[in-house]
Subunit: 309 residues, 2 copies
């Protein structure tokens, strides 16, 4: 009898996406009011530190973790402590240090997670926890008040909930599903360019999943709205946590049903069909037109199609 999972790859596409590797055991069911102080008091505890929305790294080191005493010396803001979970060697937390901290004199620097990932400054297994920490920290920073009644809310459950003491509302961290897709028409694929992109870069189209639609319908809607291209079959490829600030990228391929592009000029500076051979050269970096960086799921969607067949 055939195995139900025949045809599913043993190497999972999602696991190859940047920010996807996260060895932390979250033990989400065990989170409670003592989780953070207990973890913080553990001599094996290590912290990922943020300043604003950037990660703090030590000059000349690829280890992004700080022991508790080093974090304390940087005046970590205790009210920003979040428990990420447990690595094999002990608890992992995230916290924010004050904006005005002088980093240079301490041999530290602040770096955006995108640059950190592109430059490969830390081993890939730290990117998932850093994404987790940044998304949660951002959510707390923007949710100090209850959206139901306007009163201050307080962090609970290890950093995975905020409660409103006034109206008793409970609030949970946001994760925003975003579809990102490569439309394919035989030997051509559709790439677009937003004005905010680096010079020469073209990428997949993308957009937020809205209330009341499936992943596949969101893929079709965004492709039609941005480029005037109707899609038939839509196939899921992989997903990626994308901490800018807290998206879940859902990567798909879609089968184009028409060829005439009607670009939405408010969204796209340009949008065109590219032949497979041209895309191969773009991925190889020999062209004026540039592909999105390998850390982007768009790069992997494009590469997956180029390498197929």
């Amino acid at each position: 009898m055939a195995n139900f999972f025949d045809g599913s790859p043993t190497h999972e596409p999602s696991s190859g996406n940047a920010f996807a590797r996260n060895p932390i055991d979250r033990r989400s069911e065990e989170r409670g009011e003592t989780s953070i102080p207990t973890a913080f008091a553990d001599p094996a505890a290590r912290l990922y530190l943020f300043i604003g929305d950037k990660a703090v790294l030590k000059d000349g080191s690829s280890d992004p973790l700080f022991p508790v005493d080093a974090a304390e010396a940087l005046n970590l803001r205790h009210e920003t402590l979040i428990l990420l979970g447990w690595a094999a060697t002990g608890p992992r937390l995230a916290a924010t240090i004050p904006d005005e901290t002088p980093l240079e004199v301490r041999g530290l620097r602040a770096i955006d997670l995108r640059a950190l990932a592109v430059e490969g400054l830390v081993p890939p297994e730290h990117l998932g926890p850093l994404a987790q920490g940044r998304s949660l920290s951002y959510w707390h920073a923007r949710h100090g008040f209850c959206s139901v009644c306007g009163q201050p809310s307080v962090m609970k459950s290890g950093g995975y909930r905020r409660d409103c003491p006034s109206c008793k509302a409970e609030h949970f961290p946001r994760t925003d599903p975003v579809v990102i897709m490569l439309a394919v028409d035989g030997e051509r694929c559709l790439l677009g360019r937003q004005s905010r992109f680096p010079p020469g870069m073209y990428s997949c189209l993308a957009g937020f999943v809205e209330p009341g639609e499936t992943i596949e319908d969101a893929v079709r809607r965004e492709t039609f709205e941005e480029a005037g291209i109707r899609l038939g079959r839509v196939r899921y490829h992989s997903s990626q946590p994308w901490p800018f600030p807290a998206s879940l990228m859902i990567g798909c391929h879609g089968e184009a049903l028409n060829r005439d592009i009607v670009p939405d000029e408010r969204e796209l500076e340009d949008c065109r069909w590219f032949e497979r051979a041209e895309v191969k050269a773009i991925l190889a970096g020999t062209e004026t037109i540039k592909a999105p960086p390998p850390i982007a799921i768009a790069n992997r969607l494009i590469r997956n199609w180029v390498d197929a067949v």
Copy 2:
């Protein structure tokens, strides 16, 4: 040359899920400050009405739409008007009527969207727009205040944004990705029972995707946390908008790597392996143990596995 989409079903699994059919053209790029009044003034405009979190239906009618004058006669709360988009016959909006509206004397009733879907009270193409309307209405009802600064926020962009006049923060509707999965071990699958389920019902395990994890990792984490079962390969099946209040259900199958269940008793009253033949009988409705209703993506994940091979 093989077609890149070979192997993708022409009948998309997601399209068979309840709340998935949504014929409304959202034209999301065109939303602006005049969208709602312009659409509302269109004689072809029709409204889905809500009272609290329930839909308003006319007795003896399967048409959930109200013309503008009928909605006005019910004192629709103008500040709750949301533009869903355009059907072939005109604009579609959603609005809430006052909680104290006497429905019975007007030949109306309030019904939960779950019951409405289970009982098939309206044609399926209305379920998507009703889900869209309910999720958005719920979001506005719980986001009258800016979470950044605590001041009142105002609806913008046809109902797809709230702006804070005080701190200038922009807020967007939430859609919460939830993984729901059927763990499979050869001829057995794993079903669990929460104490809040109807008597005898067993279903798939499920949980929210957290910041910093992929869909597949969330599937594995939740299955391990709730049942102690480790999963290897995880395969996406379909997605479903689930307006209770605003989830995107992401349905997957997962390949079990061990057999010994360690149930999380805070989450599950019971959790067991079921043989394929037993599950067939459960789906047929001949057993004491009940399957989730066909409107639930869990039902379709189970049925898909039972029917496979």
